[in-house]
């Protein structure tokens, strides 16, 4: 029984290392970087912007003095100044740029979300591809651990088997004891019943015998003379009864 279980766990053991060797047998990230004092940088969130390109910090900078509308007013004023003083000249490239901006804005609002979704899905696919090998190895390792724990549990179930065997022995002893007790009882009862039956039978026979003997003797003792007297008396009684 152990050999079969051992084969199963050996099979699980053999499948995992080969997959890992393929992925790189470096037990530690080579380069021996000091992870505690120089932790690897984690990609952070991009800075917050308004209108797509103006950093949030500029708005915060204005907020204390001019409130919420400050920066926008400043922007409009600055733009008006640049346009009116012809510091920013509206020449051909400006109109080209404006048209392109409008087209791009329209395209991004119309097609942007869908394109973003598609690209995100592609990125997710690439990521899952990378992780697939690792995840499958992790899963197989966990499965093998679970299987081995189960094998241990089952091996310990053999203790129950021994207990069951002991109980079987006890059962057999108990059965034998009960049979013996019952046999003893039955034997005694048999003998007593026999005596009982014998006595009753004897009494019955004796009774019957006595009755027969008495009747026989009485009929014998009746003489013809007595018989005639008895008959005459019976007739007289009958006549008396009939009269009444």
């Amino acid at each position: 029984m152990f050999s079969r279980l051992a084969l199963r766990s050996v099979a699980a053991r053999q499948s995992t290392p080969t997959a890992l060797v393929a992925r790189g047998s470096a037990t530690e990230v080579s380069g021996l970087r000091d992870e505690k004092n120089f932790p690897r940088p984690v990609r952070g969130e991009p800075g917050k912007v308004r209108l797509g390109f103006i950093p949030e910090e500029w708005f915060q900078f204005f907020h204390a003095k001019t409130g919420v509308t400050g920066p926008y007013t400043f922007g409009v004023g600055l733009a008006t100044y640049l346009f009116s003083k012809e510091i920013y000249v509206m020449e051909h490239e400006y109109y080209t740029g404006l048209s392109i901006f409008v087209m791009i804005y329209y395209a991004s609002t119309k097609f942007g979300p869908k394109l973003a979704e598609f690209l995100d899905k592609e990125v997710d696919n690439v990521e899952t591809n990378w992780n697939a090998g690792r995840l499958s190895t992790i899963k197989s390792l966990e499965d093998s651990i679970a299987g081995e724990k189960e094998a241990q549990w089952r091996a310990q179930g053999q203790e129950l088997l021994i207990e069951a065997k002991k109980e079987n022995v006890l059962l057999q002893l108990e059965a034998a004891y009960r049979e013996r007790a019952l046999t003893a009882y039955q034997e005694v009862k048999r003998r007593l019943d026999f005596q009982l039956e014998k006595t009753l039978l004897e009494r019955r026979i004796a009774q019957k015998n006595m009755v027969d003997w008495i009747v026989a003797n009485v009929t014998k003792a009746i003489t013809p003379d007595q018989e005639k007297q008895a008959m005459d008396r019976c007739i007289a009684d009958l006549a008396a009864l009939a009269k009444n």
Binding site: A6, S9, E127, Q152, K165, E174, Y177, R178, A184
Partner: protein, 173 residues
């Protein structure tokens, strides 16, 4: 008197769950045997019924027979059968227990190896957080290495020198 059997002390349901599937048939045979024993036990009552001595006393005329039987029967102790097999079972257990422990210890070693491997893999940096540099650190053989193993763009096998497409390989054979 040794302890009497009153009720089954074994949880057969739990026991059945612990039996490995390849030994189910053997377990069923064992259980059948145990059921036979149980039925034999239950065929007879735990105590034999009482004998009504008074009625026999009244009727049986043989002097002293009933009294003699009464004293003999009540004085008689039904012998509980001797237990020869429990010792053998204990012996079996003594030889079995170290084997179980050994097996469990071996399996435990395997579990530990697997667990260590699992921890190592879980401790590796996530691919989502890696840069090309860290990828080179973790998997030096698979990363692009322009110094030791330079490759032509687009860095796939077809564009490198000495690439043999699969069908040509088959023709060559």
């Amino acid at each position: 008197m040794a302890k009497r059997f009153t009720k089954s002390a074994i949880n057969w349901v739990e026991f059945e769950k612990q039996v490995p599937p390849e030994q189910k048939t053997k377990f069923l045979a064992f259980k059948a045997k145990a059921d036979i024993y149980l039925r034999r036990v239950q065929a007879n009552p735990p105590e034999p019924p009482k004998i009504n001595w008074e009625e026999y006393q009244k009727i049986v005329p043989v002097k002293g027979l009933v009294d003699k039987m009464k004293t003999a029967y009540s004085g008689f102790q039904v012998p509980y059968p001797t237990d020869t097999l429990s010792a053998k079972v204990d012996e079996q257990w003594k030889s079995l227990e170290p084997k179980i422990k050994e097996y469990c210890a071996e399996i435990q070693k395997d579990i530990e190896v697997a667990q260590k491997e699992l921890n190592r893999i879980k401790a590796l940096p996530k691919f989502e957080d890696m840069t090309m540099e860290t990828f080179y650190d973790v998997y030096p053989n698979e990363a692009l290495d322009p110094v030791k193993r330079p490759t032509f763009w687009p860095h796939d096998p077809e564009e490198q020198l000495g690439y043999v497409p699969p069908q040509h390989k088959a023709v060559k054979k």
